[in-house]
Amino acid sequence: MNTSDLKTYAKNTWCPGCGNFAIELAARQAFAELAEEGRLKVENLVILSGIGCHAKMSDYLRVNSFYSLHGRVVAPATGVKLANPELTVVGFAGDGDAYGEGLDHLIFAAKRNVGIAMIIHNNRVYGLTTGQFTPTSPRGFPGKSTPKGSPEDPMNPIELMLASGATFVARAFSGDLQHLKRVIRGAISHRGFSMVDVLQPCVTFLNTWEFYSKRVYDLQGEGHDAGNREEAMERAREWGYGGGAERIPIGIFYEVEKPTFEELVLRGRKPRELPMPDIGRVLNEHV
């Protein structure tokens, strides 16, 4: 499969140099490779996006898509998976989207281990609303809503996802396309809930390109045991999304197998094939 087959006619309107280009390309390559290998049927692929610069993925990718609401990607994604567990469900969300407006859904998706992959475009700034601080912006970030600097410490989504019970937690960098693609492949192939925090520069409002380029290193290249939750937590704390870190780990922090939400809820039933209700039988109870 040619990766350009997965593009629509929509005109791309991301800023030149935006990290979203790499995420979009990596996702497209990951989909095409998995399809080539017979591990994914493109017609069974559903992507969902929130609202923000990232969300244009729904317009740009020629696959089933649900362009949802700001912060809510996880909810319809859960519904799609529950309705038809044969579908491969990939949610794209921004950091304001997933870590701000809709954080509760992300935590519950991790808690439930619902079989969806969430790819978070984390540029640590609101781009489409022209530059306010997000949950992962560094303290002191001078956004338009905090001109004297953000008064809040950033949250660490990796730590949060580990604490919430996520069974696949990873981080990638839009500046390392091959690595990003491998991690996205891993997230899609994982059975259960997976989350990838993708560090990306916002060239217009928070250009972190150089900051990340100098600091990122691959966990898998340093013998990290992704099956060990304590070790994952330790690595997650190596960088708290502030400005001072020496090194920023990327790669898979944690990966473990657990029964999924849809398996436990459906117990082998397929919603499409549920029998018509036997109202007469039910009414007998009510006499």
């Binding site: 629509t8 006619y9 929509a10 017609e43 069974n44 692929l45 559903v46 969902l48 609202i51 244009k56 729904s58 317009d59 020629r62 696959v63 089933n64 898509s65 649900f66 362009y67 949802s68 609401l69 809510r72 996880v74 909810a75 319809p76 994604a77 859960t78 519904g79 799609v80 998976k81 529950l82 309705a83 038809n84 044969e86 579908l87 509760d104 859904h105 519950f108 809820v265 459906l266 039933r269 919603p271 499409r272 549920l274 029998p275 018509m276 209700p277 036997d278 109202i279 007469g280 039988r281 039910v282 009414l283 007998n284 009510h286 006499v287």
Partner: protein, 579 residues
């Protein structure tokens, strides 16, 4: 029981007994059972209702309880009639008091011939005292079994056979069936042995029945399932929590899956994801939860996702009085959501209508790819009705589906505005979009495409109205030629129909509030000299809606204290208005 007390009761029974039968309305009984939360009042009300049901009576049960788990005062009024009824009355024939508060609060409801059955260990009252507490303590049983003793005693007083009581106990008690049977028999024996018990009004078997007894919530569950619902999502909130519980407990029979996500926002998002994937879903909530769903309501409008919402109103604003009723969310249901998009708002008035309209809501949502709101309220959702619907009359109607030719356009322009549906996994690329979009579902800000897309969605509203013009959208009860027309919607139906029959009025009851069956209403209201709107809210929302459409309402009768109209109460108020 102390001898002195016994003598007093015997005296009272002998003295009052003969009056008793004269007071009872022929072929009709009203029983109130009251106690504190945790006394099993709801369960007892259900058992009493079933006993009458087995004798062929039409049943209505009103439940009244505060928002707490233990303590407080709960009561149920079970009304049984040889005629079809769907309301309670203020006056009761038998008061069953499991605590003193039940007597203190409800003795005003008693007429000269009414009877009180009470736990003589706890309650000071006139009537038939039974040492219920002592009977359960003696056996080491939990106090909640007092309600079964009360059932036995009540049945004996009403002359209902012990076999009926035993049958009902077996059908309603999940646990301790033998113990319940034993205490029911003892309660029955004590009451039949007392002269007072023997003189009570007798509930003879009447023709017809038994009929399935359903709460509004249960009927909604059955209707949704019959309309093809496969996934039901809800976050607990009175008065629709029981809808979630019922579907969860009957997944296999209903062919549906119940889930309880983290919030009402997740609830509706999940339901819409399922609908996008081709699975019929529904959600249920009350006003507070619906508030959280509103952004997704607008999404349903824009992305054209079939979305069925059961909105069980309760007394609000905000937390209000959560376990009490109100019809205060009509405008909210009709106008919630940012933007202009078609929707339907349906208002069933009893269990039968709840069943049919719930199935219809599923079909409308899928036929027109719109949000459909079923307006219930605490009084409809949690009251129990005798039902008589034919389940086979409701079924899943197929939506307009893509024929598989050419490139699929999720939002294809069509004459009626309804684009054929396709689902992920079926070979088409299906793009749903909350942004304004072109026919494929790709975002657009083009002025021409924006206007065309909006017009397409609005055409669905016209198509919906046309579709409904062939359906029963309004019902007329009582005397259709009367000069007096009572206009009601939703749960106010039952009480209005009963009173209309007594005062010779007609009742105009639209089943659809949006789109409003305007022409039908015009026709029906034309001949009436006095049009009286009756609503369970404080601003007369439906009457305002009628006036907005140029329809005439002369008087408005409102109730907004959390309690539904009782039939004798409404009759008195109407007679006052009519002079």
């Amino acid at each position: 029981m102390h001898g002195g007390c016994r003598a007093l009761i015997d005296f009272m029974e002998t003295f009052i007994g003969p009056l008793y039968n004269a007071i009872i309305i022929m072929g009709e009984f009203s029983v109130l059972i009251g106690g504190q939360a945790g006394d099993g009042i709801k369960q007892a009300g259900n058992a009493i209702a079933r006993a009458f049901n087995r004798l062929g009576y039409w049943i209505f049960v009103y439940e009244d309880y505060p928002s707490l788990i233990r303590g407080g005062h709960n009561f149920a009024i079970v009304r049984a009639s040889s005629k079809r009824i769907a309301s309670h009355r203020e006056r009761v024939d038998v008061l069953v008091a499991l605590n003193q508060e039940a007597v203190d609060r409800h003795s005003w409801r008693l007429g000269n011939g009414s009877m009180t059955i009470f736990d003589s260990g706890l309650v000071k009252a006139e009537g038939l005292g039974i040492p219920m507490g002592e009977m359960v303590r003696r056996r080491g049983l939990p106090s909640i079994l007092r309600n079964t003793i009360a059932l036995g005693a009540l049945a004996a007083v009403l002359g209902i056979g012990l076999d009926v009581v035993e049958d009902v106990v077996r059908a309603t008690m999940g646990k301790r069936v033998e113990e319940n049977l034993e205490v029911a028999r003892e309660g029955y024996g004590i009451a039949s042995g007392s002269p007072r018990g023997a003189q009570g009004p007798k509930a003879e078997r009447v023709p017809g029945g038994p009929r399935p007894l359903l709460t509004g919530n249960e009927a909604l569950a059955l209707g949704l399932a019959r309309g093809g619902m496969r996934i039901y999502a809800a976050y607990p909130m009175t008065p629709t929590s029981a809808l979630l519980h019922y579907i969860a407990a009957h997944e296999d029979e209903l062919g549906a899956i119940a889930i309880h996500p983290e919030s009402e926002i997740a609830v509706i998002g999940i339901a819409q994801g399922a609908a996008y994937a081709g699975i019929r879903s529904a959600v249920g909530t009350s006003g507070g939860g619906f508030s959280l769903m509103v952004e997704h309501l607008s999404l349903a409008g824009q992305a054209e996702i079939p979305t069925v919402i059961v909105l069980g109103q309760r007394l609000d604003p905000a937390t209000g009085a959560p376990t009490y009723t109100k019809q205060g969310n009509l405008f909210f249901a009709m106008f919630a959501g940012h933007g202009e998009f078609p929707r339907a708002v349906l208002a069933p008035g009893d269990a039968d209508e709840a069943f049919h309209l719930a199935a219809e809501a599923m079909n409308l949502a899928w036929r027109f790819q719109i949000p459909v709101i079923i307006l219930s309220d605490k009084h409809l959702s949690e009251s129990t009705f005798s039902s008589s619907f034919e389940a086979s009359r409701a079924g899943e109607e197929p939506p307009k589906l893509w024929d598989g030719t050419g490139d699929y356009k999720r939002y294809a322009q069509t004459e009626d505005g309804v684009s054929p549906l396709a689902f992920p996994g079926g070979g088409a690329v299906v793009k749903a979009n909350s942004y304004e979009h072109d026919e494929f579902g790709i975002t657009t800000e083009d002025a021409d495409l924006i206007a065309k897309a909006q017009e397409k969605r609005l055409r669905k509203a016209e198509a919906l109205e046309e579709h409904l013009s062939g359906k029963e959208t309004l019902r007329v009860h009582g005397d259709p030629d009367s000069r007096i027309a009572l206009v009601v919607w939703g749960s106010t139906k039952g009480v209005a129909v009963e009173v209309a029959e007594r005062i010779g009025a007609s009742v105009i009851q639209p089943l659809y509030l949006l789109p409003l069956p305007k022409r039908e209403l015009e026709k029906r209201l034309e001949g009436a000299e006095r049009v009286i709107g009756i609503e369970g809210n404080s601003t007369g929302q439906f009457c305002r809606w009628l006036r907005y459409h140029g329809l005439r309402v002369d008087e408005v009768l409102l109730k907004y204290d959390g309690r539904p109209f009782a039939s004798d109460e409404l009759e008195g108020k109407l007679r006052g208005i009519l002079g």
